[in-house]
């Protein structure tokens, strides 16, 4: 299937969410095999340069994901794990769920990017269960978080009520313990280190103090210039 009719989106723009997704897309390096989790992460595919030599995996059974397709040209049998209509690239492959997770658990993923309800400063991730309210289930997230070589999270910095999602300790049932290495938010890029959260980059127009104020655990702010995205 030719992709000439689907152009990647340009990074930037005023929308903080779009800037976050565009920044997270730059985490994908040439040669990587990458899984993008349901929700915001799957949208990263539309921000990758068309000539990026990387392989995207979706756990419902495909490697070599191309850009998402509009409804008019969608293939009813070709979706990602979140139900979005996607496309192939030259070299795409289809397989069943057993093969798909053999790939995940045997360590073939260089990177996974997941959504989160909560992330703790020790790298714990909670993203599948809010007891009594909304328990969607973990889907493939447990295996992705436990077995990908690098686990990053993309999430809004706070929830809809403004409560921090980056915490001292997760309060919700965990998806995986201690595997998150980096968090992309609408405010900042934050690394999870043995010393806790470390501020690495700031969103345009956001101050380090604002990020610290929106974070539910100590945020280390390096004494150097903080890059802006």
């Amino acid at each position: 299937m030719a992709l000439s009719d689907v152009e990647p989106k340009k990074p930037g723009g005023a929308d903080p969410r779009a800037r976050m997704i565009a920044r997270a897309a730059r985490e994908i390096a040439p040669g990587m095999v990458v899984n993008l989790g349901i929700g915001l992460p799957t949208r990263v595919v539309d921000y990758l340069p068309a000539d990026m030599p990387a392989c995207l995996h979706t756990e419902n059974g495909m490697t070599g994901i191309g850009p998402t397709r509009p409804y008019e040209t969608a293939d009813r049998n070709l979706i990602d794990a979140g139900g979005a209509y996607i496309s192939t690239v030259p070299g795409s492959a289809y397989f069943d769920s057993v093969v798909s997770f053999a790939l995940v658990r045997s360590g073939r993923l260089d990177l996974t990017m997941l959504g989160a309800f909560e992330v703790a400063r020790n790298g714990d991730l909670a993203n599948w269960k809010i007891p009594g309210r909304f328990s969607p289930g973990a889907g493939g997230a447990i295996e992705l978080a436990q077995k990908a070589r690098r686990v990053v999270v993309m999430t809004t910095h706070t929830d809809r009520k403004g409560n921090p999602k980056l915490l001292e300790r997760c309060t919700l049932p965990l998806t995986a313990r201690g595997h998150v290495a980096r968090i992309f938010t609408d405010l900042a890029v934050v690394d999870v280190t043995p010393q806790g959260f470390v501020l690495r980059e700031l969103a345009q127009g956001i101050s380090a103090a604002q990020v610290a104020g929106a974070t539910g655990a100590p945020l280390h702010i390096p004494d150097t210039d903080i890059p802006i995205f």
């Binding site: 349901i38 049998n77 070709l78 328990s135």
Partner: protein, 230 residues
């Protein structure tokens, strides 16, 4: 030698599912979901079912008809977040939901289909999903014993089939169909096209016909099979 003909009418195939049956249902979202078989199961009103399916489809689609029709007692699944009805039924306590890590669900079904009793894994061993499961220690690591899954019936959707039950899937519609087609006592496949033996090249067969008991030809595809505009 001529291979047996397993083509069956829709009503007759689904009539073989008894009340209280454990039923595996293929599909991940729309692709690979056997909507016609599920619709017929709704129409025949079978009760007290245990369903095993990756997801709960979406409101008004697929297994949602069985869930909201009160036909399902228990659901073993990995993710039901796209169907608010399923979440509401679970929260209300009228639907029992067992969550399983997605690849572990696939592997439990594969094990059931491969004549194995269980698998051993480190997935989820240090989370709440480990509760109530047998544990094992190997080389100093705490592991879980995940029991194999088999079902009374598996409902499968294929793009193409021959009358012996050889099946071929399209694109991301393989998903759980491949493993489930090996893991049930009675396997019912619906197919968008059904031809005589030989219509599928041996190399094109994803599920060998020996695993399939009944194959149902779909005369038309309902709205549910189409592109969903959300």
């Amino acid at each position: 030698m001529k291979l047996p003909d397993k083509s069956t009418a829709l009503e007759e195939a689904v009539a073989r599912i008894p009340d209280g049956a454990t039923v595996m249902v293929g599909g991940f979202g729309v692709p690979g979901t056997p909507f016609a078989l599920l619709h017929e199961l709704r129409r025949q009103g079978r009760k007290d079912l245990t369903l095993i399916k990756n997801d709960a489809n979406e409101a008004g689609m697929g297994i949602d008809h069985l869930l909201t029709g009160g036909q399902v007692r228990r659901l073993i699944s990995t993710h039901i977040g796209l169907n608010p009805n399923a979440v509401a039924l679970m929260n209300a306590g009228t639907l029992e939901v067992e969550f399983c890590a997605q690849g572990i669900l696939a592997e439990r079904i594969r094990a059931g289909g491969a004549g194995l009793r269980a698998i051993v894994t480190d997935i989820g061993a240090d989370t709440d999903l480990a509760e109530g499961k047998a544990r094992l220690e190997m080389e100093g690591q705490r592991l879980l014993v995940e029991t194999a899954l088999r079902a009374d019936v598996a409902l499968i959707h294929a793009a193409a089939a021959d009358s012996f039950g050889n099946l071929a899937y399209l694109a991301t519609a393989r998903n759980f169909n491949v493993a489930m087609a090996m893991a049930a006592d009675t396997v019912i496949a619906e197919a968008e096209t059904l031809g005589p033996p030989g219509c599928l090249a041996p190399d094109a067969v994803h599920t060998p016909g020996v695993f399939v008991d009944h194959v149902v030809e779909l005369s038309e595809l309902s709205r549910e099979y189409g592109v969903v505009r959300r």
